[in-house]
């Protein structure tokens, strides 16, 4: 096959001019991080292109006052690139148009004992937990620049102001660039405090255009799947259709004469370790193009041993889960025998069971990785949220010293907790194939492989029971839940199955929660707002059931039950003021409320729906009210809330993976249906910020309350109580 040399239609210079021409305000002249992996040398990630003096690991300042910021986090659509830049720039106090950005070097981070503190991006933690050292890097550099000028001018540092890249004391002024070299040598007695008071910020809190947007309207943003390395070959892979089945045989002879086919490589299972995803038995077909590899793989005769897991199906899991609801589980927090006793002695008891299926990440960028194993170094281009893990994973698979592994940060075609190539075995697959063939290899999972072999959000079941007192409020609440994970673990990563169901704020006198950890062969992972996404639905639909049984309006119930909790009160009162929530709409129309706290942020939704007599659901509007304490970039934060709502409604309304014969019936977007544009509700986002020292996340929390709000709205529209998802499986017709 004749390879035509790839030819870029836009030079870098013309691209920057283009972005200046179409952009406005703050974006003018801004450089994008250089992630042009298709044309860069694989060795480039260890060499910063920043020009000037390095003040600290995050900052390089040039004589012409250009500041290069090194971004240690991943941009997966959540606005992380812009948030990091804003956090550093706020404290450094530098002209936005003078900033360039580049991705921080994950290998340097590793070699220098975690120099960037954290090079992983998950859990809505970027602003929430990383702001102290990111703002600190800017503050420290600013004070060192001031100190350098103070020494040169023979005055005290306190007499100097640093603003928009200029140092001033009386009549004297200088640019940061002029003192960059001197500042690099300054040692401060004490590192400065950062400013977390939103009223004092000049940049944070202002709606700011995201820096990655111009790259994403002309095809120039480079994702891992776009990687092209000289001499690269392509692999299509297939793991056992029933996860964790074993590879019995394959017949390479049947396909080896097909055009471009190079090899068929069986891959042996490797058990995962903490932070290092596992590898299943799989077969890879390698060819000189992806299409040739994929078509040959489809024709390759392969035999698997599926084992006992081939008998598993969703109905059996649900039955097992509901059975567990009648058995004592592990108690979360402290044992409260009075919860069950009060319910047993009560004359009015509400009880309901709920269930939700597995869901998949289905990032639009299918799971992929490119790895080049050489004698003295390994390069990795992977859509990972965790560059550090990508390095240790490849080192583990190949036996290479991690110090010689270089992970290239790419734009991610979605993250959502699934960690792209980093959370699956694909990076191991690419490393193993490259090691064996001694060539750079790009592995792409077909969409079918991606849905079948991604690590999924656990199937979950819950039963909730409450006794209702004379005032209509609960006197006791007893809950049990189970989720089905690969390791029968309550914990997946940092997320637990208690989220959204145990840590609820309502002040019920007696409360006990128990959990069961059920096992499945289906690989499990965190999934945007993990735990809260499944369990929040169960808890918040049940809240409506409790409230209505006690004769309470669901919004008034939530206000009453959070009395004394100022931030919850702020959210519910704001919702009450803005939503126009009412329960007396004509049949076929309904509004519903729900609230789930996750990632340090309180998020409440009010859904407005219509349901036709024939049962056709239309979700017209979702109003979201959030308290994240403070908001760094309202523009990006609002987008994240709109996206989170759409994300969760995709699962609750149209999605749902169904297990049959140990594998999913859903194989591609024809049978795993994501929300489409004509189904997407209008989302209005309101921030009700309580301030204080609260730094909540905003990449995930708006999602979990959306499905229960819709289910509660459907109840008012139709009289039908929805206790499972997806909604599409329910007959919503009414007369």
């Amino acid at each position: 096959m004749n390879k035509i040399v790839s030819k870029k239609t836009l030079s870098r210079r013309s691209f920057i001019q283009a972005s200046a021409a179409v952009g406005g305000g703050l974006m003018l002249g801004f450089h994008m991080p250089d992630a042009l992996a298709a044309t860069i040398s694989p060795k480039s990630s260890s060499t910063s292109t920043a020009v000037g003096t390095e003040i600290n690991a995050w900052l390089v300042i040039d004589k012409d006052n250009t500041v290069t910021m090194r971004i240690p986090h991943t941009e997966m659509g959540q606005g992380g690139l812009t948030s990091v830049t804003m956090l550093i720039a706020e404290e450094l106090n530098v002209d936005w148009s003078k900033i360039k950005t580049e991705w921080a070097d994950a290998n340097r981070h590793l070699r220098n004992n975690k120099e960037y503190k954290v090079m992983s991006t998950h859990g809505s933690q970027l602003v929430r937990l990383q702001h102290p050292h990111l703002m600190g890097a800017g503050a420290s550099a600013r004070e060192r620049l001031k100190q350098a000028a103070a020494e040169a001018w023979g005055i005290d540092r306190s007499q100097i102001t640093a603003k928009l890249g200029t140092l001033t004391a009386g009549n004297r002024t200088a640019t940061y660039g002029e003192f960059a070299e001197a500042a690099a040598k300054v040692k401060l007695d004490k590192e400065p405090e950062i400013s977390i008071d939103p009223t004092k910020w000049w940049l944070l809190g202002k709606p700011t255009q995201r820096l990655d947007i111009p790259n994403k309207v002309n095809g120039s943003a480079q994702y891992a799947i776009d990687t092209k390395v000289p001499g690269m070959v392509y692999a299509a892979v297939k793991a056992s259709p029933v996860p964790w089945g074993t590879l019995k045989s394959h017949n390479f002879d049947a396909i080896k004469s097909r055009p471009g086919v190079i090899a068929a490589i069986p891959l042996k299972a490797v058990a995962g370790k903490r932070g290092q995803p596992d590898l299943q038995d799989a077969i890879a077909v390698v060819a000189d193009s992806y299409y040739r590899a994929k078509t040959a793989l489809d024709l390759l005769p392969v035999e698997w041993d599926f084992g006992e897991a081939a008998k598993d199906n969703s109905a059996a899991y649900y039955a097992a889960g509901h059975k567990l609801m009648e058995q004592k589980g592990q108690v979360s927090g402290k044992e409260e025998p009075k919860a069950a006793e009060t319910i047993a002695a009560s004359s009015k008891v509400v009880t309901a069971s709920y269930q939700r299926p597995f869901e998949t990440h289905a990032r639009m960028e299918p799971i992929n990785a490119t790895v080049w194993v050489q004698d003295d170094r390994i390069d990795v281009w992977s859509p990972t949220q965790d560059q550090s893990a990508a390095i240790t994973l490849v080192a583990d698979q190949t036996g290479m010293d991690p110090k010689n592994v270089y992970a290239h940060t790419m734009f991610l075609g979605g993250g959502f907790g699934g960690n792209g190539g980093g959370g699956t075995g694909v990076t191991r697959q690419a490393a193993e194939i490259s090691k064996q063939l001694k060539k750079p290899v790009k592995v792409i999972w077909s969409r079918e492989e991606d849905l079948a072999q991604d690590k999924q959000r656990p199937l979950a079941v819950a039963k909730l029971t409450a006794s209702i007192g004379d005032d209509g409020l609960p006197t006791a609440l007893f809950t049990r839940a189970a989720w089905f994970s690969q390791d029968a673990m309550n914990q997946i990563g940092g997320a637990t199955s208690d989220y959204g169901i145990y840590n609820i704020p309502y002040k019920v006198p007696y409360r006990q929660h128990e959990r069961h950890n059920a096992k499945t062969h289906i690989p499990s992972s965190t999934h945007r707002a993990p735990g809260a996404n499944q369990m929040g639905f169960m808890a918040e639909v049940f809240v409506d059931e409790m409230a209505i049984a006690g004769g309470w309006d669901p919004l008034e119930w939530r206000l009453k039950m959070t009395e004394g909790l100022d931030d919850f009160q702020l959210v519910f009162k704001t919702l009450k003021e803005k939503a126009g929530f009412r329960t007396d709409l004509p049949k076929g129309e309904g509004m519903g409320i729900a609230m789930v706290e996750s990632h340090g942020t309180i998020a409440a939704c009010c859904a407005t729906v219509t349901v036709s007599r024939r049962g056709r659901l239309n979700i017209e509007k979702i109003l979201v009210v959030l308290d994240a304490g403070r908001v760094i970039n309202p523009h990006a934060a609002t987008e994240q809330c709109e996206g989170s709502v759409c994300w969760e409604l995709s699962h609750a309304w149209t999605g749902g993976l169904e297990l049959e014969g140990g594998r999913f019936v859903n194989t591609n977007f024809d049978s795993y249906n994501l929300l489409r544009i004509d189904q997407n509700p209008h989302v209005e986002t309101i921030f009700a910020s309580s301030g204080g020292d609260k730094f909540g996340g905003l990449g995930e929390p708006a999602g979990p309350p959306a499905p229960p709000a819709v289910a509660n709205a459907i109840f008012y529209a139709t009289g039908k109580r929805i206790r499972s998802t997806p909604f599409r499986q329910h007959d919503l017709s009414w007369t």
């Binding site: 239609t9 255009q209 995201r210 309207v217 095809g219 969409r447 759409c646 997407n680």
Partner: protein, 154 residues
């Protein structure tokens, strides 16, 4: 088999099996990676391009069937991101992860080439085959309306 394709106004000779989807010829042979692989079964729209001005999903289009036709990819929509749809996308700040956005923009620009002032229902119908996992639909609607007004003013 060798044949010549007209891509973004230039002739490109390729040598592939004639049934190879145009998507993979664009990405792996011609090096235009702005057109994305999403599903391979024409259900997500990430691979949308224009063929003689019509929005088409390149993952289900045999490369040899495009011979003699005018193929436009996101890289060829404008030289400098100046197409009204691209401008509107930037002004509204539509993309999040961005992976689906080439396809979204190609579908939207094909729609507006035919209907300068589409109704919301027409926009939804034209865009219903383009999935976005980040949930940017609301901003896509807003940006198409903005692009429409730009086109009408031009």
């Amino acid at each position: 088999m060798k044949f010549t394709l007209n891509i973004n106004g230039e002739s490109q000779q390729v040598d592939v099996e004639p049934e190879t989807p145009l998507l993979w010829v664009l990405r792996d042979d011609v090096g235009l990676t702005g057109t994305k692989f999403g599903c391979g079964i024409a259900r997500c729209g990430a691979c949308t391009i224009h063929v003689d001005g019509q929005a088409m999903k390149s993952c289900q289009l045999q490369a040899s069937a495009a011979v003699g036709k005018k193929i436009t990819t996101i890289e060829g929509l404008s030289k400098d991101s100046s197409h009204p749809v691209q401008q509107a996308w930037v002004e509204v700040g539509v993309p999040q992860c961005g992976y689906c956005q080439s396809g979204q923009i190609m579908s939207a620009s094909a729609l507006l080439a035919k209907r300068k002032n589409p109704t919301d229902a027409e926009i939804e119908a034209a865009m219903a085959d383009n999935l976005c996992r980040c949930g940017t639909y609301q901003r896509i609607m807003q940006a198409i309306r903005l692009a429409s007004s730009k086109i009408q003013q031009a």
